[in-house]
Each structure stands twice: as C-alpha cells, then as structure tokens.
Amino acid sequence: MKYQSQKVAKLYFIAAIGLFVGQILFGLIIGAQYIWGDFLFPTLPFNQARAVHTNLLIVWLIFGFMGAAYYLVPEEAETDLVMPWLAKLMFWIFLAAGAATIVGYIVMPFADLAKLTQNDLFPTMGREFLEQPTITKLGIVVVALAFLANIGFTILKGRKTVINLVLLMGLTGLAVFFLFAFFNPTNIVWDKYYWWWVVHLWVEGVWELILGSILAFILIKTTGVDREVIEKWLYVIIAMTLITGIVGTGHHYYWIGTPEFWQWWGSIFSALEPIPFFMMTVFAFNMVNKRRRNHPNKAAVLWALGTAVMAFLGAGVWGFLHTLAPVNYYTHGTQITAAHGHMAFYGAYVMINLAIISYAMPLLRGREAANSNKSQVLEMWSFWLMTISIVFITLFLTAAGILQVYLQRFSDNPLPFMVVQSKIELFYVLRELTGLVFLAGLIVYVASFFVGSREPEATVEGEVVAAS
C-alpha cells in the first residue's frame, strides 16, 4: 500500500464480505422453501427472502467495486484520494441505507414497506432487482455521485492510466444506467424494455468494464507483465464486450411484446457475447504464463484465473445455451435461467471481487505482499469449495430446468407449473445440499482472515525463468 487514503477500501471490503455471508444464508432459506414450501411461512414468504438474497448480492458487489476503486485508483493515479473523508462518510450512509432496506424486506410485508416509504409519491418499487423503495434508490444515486466525484477528481489530478479510465467509465455507466430504474410506466412493454437498460446494460455491459479493469490491475501487479501489453488487451476485450453486448440486449426482447426483428438481432449479437469472455480467459492465462516474477500471493492469482474461467463458463457458455430465440422460446423464465444466473454472477462478479480483496487485504492489513502460507492454503480451499459447489448448483438447476421445460412446455400433455415443480424436487434437494457445501466454503473463506495472521509472510519459491 503506497497511499494512506487507500486504507478506506478496507471498510468497504469488510462490509462486502459481511453482506456476502448474509446473501448466502438467505439463499439457503429460499433454497429450502423450494423443497419445503411452508418453511418460515407466513413469517418470511419467499418473495421477501428472495429480495434479500438478490439485493444483498447487488449491494455487496457494489461495495466490493467501490472498495476496489478506492484501493486501485490512488495507486494507479499515484496520488492520494482527493476526499478520503467523503469516502468514509458515504460508506456509513450506504451501509445504513442498505441495512435499513434489507431489514425492511425481512420484518414487514412489501405493502407495508411501500406505505412506510411513501411509494405513492413516486412509485418505483417492486420490480425485479429494483425492489428497493424509491427513497433508497435516491440514496443510491447520492452515494454514487459522491463516489464518482471522489474517484473522478482523483483520476483527473493524477496519472491517467487506461485502467483508471476504463474503471471510471464502467462506474459512470453503472450510475447512468441506474437512472432508468426511475422510469416506471404503466405500459408493461415499455416498463420491461427500459428495465433491461438497467439490468442488461449493467451486467452484460458496463460491469464488464469494471471487471476487466480490476482484472487488468491484479494481473499487472502479480505478473509484472508490461503495462502496455495488458492495457492493449483490456481495450480489445471491452471493445468486444460492448460491440456484442449492447445490441445483445435484444435477447431479452423476444417475448415481451416487442417486435419480431429482435429475435434475429438479439440472437446474432448475443451469440457473439461469449467472445469477450473467451478473450478474457486467454488473456489471464497468457499473462500469468508470461509472468516476469512469481508473486507470493498465490491465492489472489488463483482467484484472478478462476474468475476468467468461470465467467466464460457461466456468462459465456451457459448464456449461449439459451440465448438463441428458438431455444429461448422454451427455456425463457425457467430454472435454466436460474442456473445461468448463479454461475454467471459467481464467475464474473463474485470472483473478481474476491480476487481484488485477496490481493489488497493483506496489504491493507500491513503485510508486505501476501498472507502467511497457512492463511493462503485455507483461502485456496475456500476457492475450490465454493467454485465446485457453484458448478454443481448450476448443473442441478440445469437438469431441473431441462425437465421443467420438457414437462411443462414441450411434451404432448403440458403439466401445470406446481405439478412439475414437485416432480423435479430431487434436484432442489441436491441444490440445497450443495448450497451447504458452498456455505462451508464461505466459512473457511472468512476463517482464512483470522488464521495464521501472526505467522510470517509467504515467500516466493524459486525465481521465474523470465520470458521476455
């Protein structure tokens, strides 16, 4: 750590991990409700618990992105943050607003939350992933503006690297497209059309810029490969991302009352969306193979390589599986979608956050470069436990989805939804069990922060044969 103000990142990372734990616990609750339908009913109905699960995910990922930005922007710009106090203040505001909203989801029915937050004045709540009360949404905008000002001015003041610029563009895009969350017409077609401008243009657009720049930063730091090479790759990858991803939004416009031409435009461009993810995998492995030195933080390198592979599998391959309109006709809105969502979010966004946390936390806690061997071994165990779990969760949900599609939509005598659900229960049981393994992995992950902290740092075994 070179700049004092980078320290603020630590707060954000700790909050992110805490909320991550909450997200997984609520995931297990709703996973159980898939098996025992009356679990916690009527105290905590599925919709409330699911909102907690998905909203915690989004909030902790954003906490992680912000922490990553506060850590890497000063280091790249070679100057302290312009307003470290604002970063701290916004942290507490964001955490309080987020926590209050989550508590609201848990302790009261949505209708009461709507009344409490005066949803009548400006109704925006209760749409998927944008369930937040309007007042929370406004709070998010304030926090985002303060955050962007803080890192924006820091970048302007200091050295302008490609990583910083791309990160800033990604974060600005995140804020700009969030504004569509305030557009909520009665006409359901337009509601859905512009809802995707938040959801799709986030996760298959600007968030990938954030992902790419954080990954590039970690690779520069851990491999010692020339910045020019890495930045060039970064540009090419994000170019492909937006070239395919923007028109690729069309794969959400097949069945919502939008015209037929989207089936062609959406299919063709979203079929190309795996390309940038594939390039990212090639990029990460290439850079690690060409490394000029071995970095003692092996866990961070593992997360970085892991995110490149899992993002390709989850977002690329599992996305491609059901992106073509003739396939999507049958699979739209089934457990196939859920399968893809789980692996894509884990692979692309959870893992990149864990990668930057893994890289930065030892430094933020006063280490020279890395944690002790003992701590790293534990962290790598958690990597494998969580990653293998998510692969199996995805496989079980895919199996459930295929059966669901067949029984409910494809066979000669389509069965009612609830009948089908009881027939595929086995896969929900398997998913829940795997979820418990994931939780075990997460516990190991958290433990890795507390184990071996008094032991000496890991060192590099042997020098690299420099490839240059």
Partner: protein, 187 residues
C-alpha cells in the same frame, strides 16, 4: 529493403474484420435458411426492390475499392498528395452509395414499410442498414486516413494506417458483393 509484412495493415483490424464477417456471415446464413422456408414470400417482395439502384451502388463500391487500391499504391511510392486525392475519390463514391441507398430507403419508408412489415423486409432492412452503417464507419476511417495523408503523416516506409483503412473498406465492399446477389438478385 524490408520484405512486405503480412497481413497488411494492423493485426487488430484483421481480428475485427473476421469478427465483422462472422456477424454478417451468421446474418446471411439466417437469411438463406429463412428464405428456404418462405421462397414465395421472398420472391414476391424481392420484386419491390430497385435493382438498378443496387447495381449503381455495386459499381460505386467496386470503383471506390479500386480508388483505395490506387491510394495505397501511391503512398507506397511516397506520394502523399496523390494518395490523399485517391482517398477523396473513394470517399466520393462512398457518398454516392449513401445517397442512392438513402433514396431507396426513402421510397420504402414512404410506403410505410418497416422491420415488422414481413420477414423479407425484416431481413432486407436489417442487412442493408447494418451494412449502411458500416459504409458510414468505413468512410469515417477513410476520411481520418485521408486527412493524415494530407498532413504527410505517411510515407513509403510507414503507412500501416493507409493499409488498415483500406483493408476495412475492402471488407465493407466484400460484404456488399455478397449482399447484392443474395438479397436483390437470387431467385
């Protein structure tokens, strides 16, 4: 003397040319596949297209590609001025293409035809419009190259920029060479 590099121009542009050809390729395949299932419909509405206009455009693009070839040849002989002029000529041909194509669109739109009129028009408008945008993009690139050539930024020794722009323009031309027979002529 250094032996000529292959491929000419910048490697990255070739990656993008391949990606573009892939996108167009999928679009063409989809067209062919759909046409096979709706031969009647496609044949009927194909007759509403203005084949003469398309022929003029084909000639315009081929000519412009020729001019671009001359521009590259000029810069290889260190003649920036001539290179600039050939590029301007190519741009003029590009403009002609845009004008003719716009007139065609105007004709269709004034009849109330749009992407949702039927499957044939969906493909016709999508393919030609996507290509139309590429012509515009190609012209922007050629213009940038031309202005740099006028400022004397290129020489016989270093003219990657000219080759890069030329390669992209040839791609745009090539796509039209497939599009024209596929959409306007084939029955």
């Amino acid at each position: 003397m250094e032996k000529p590099r292959w491929p000419p121009g910048d490697l990255v542009i070739w990656i993008f040319i391949l990606a573009e050809l892939l996108a167009f390729g999928i679009f063409f395949a989809a067209y062919a596949f759909t046409r096979a299932n709706h031969v009647e419909l496609f044949n009927t509405y194909q007759l509403t297209l203005d084949r003469n206009a398309a022929l003029i455009n084909t000639v315009a693009l081929i000519t412009s590609s020729y001019f671009v070839v001359r521009a590259v040849a000029s810069i290889r002989q260190d003649d920036s001025r001539r290179c600039f002029h050939w590029l301007l000529a190519a741009l003029a041909m590009g403009t002609l293409f845009l004008l003719v194509k716009s007139a065609e669109y105007h004709h269709h739109f004034s009849q109330g035809i749009n992407l949702s009129t039927n499957t044939f028009y969906m493909f016709y408008l999508s393919l030609t419009f996507f290509h139309f945008l590429h012509v515009i993009l190609g012209m922007v690139i050629l213009l940038a190259v031309a202005l740099k050539a006028r400022r004397g930024c290129y020489s016989a020794a270093e003219h990657t920029g000219v080759e890069t722009g030329a390669s992209y323009w040839h791609m745009v031309d090539l796509v039209w060479m497939i599009l024209f027979p596929l959409v306007y002529v084939m029955r």
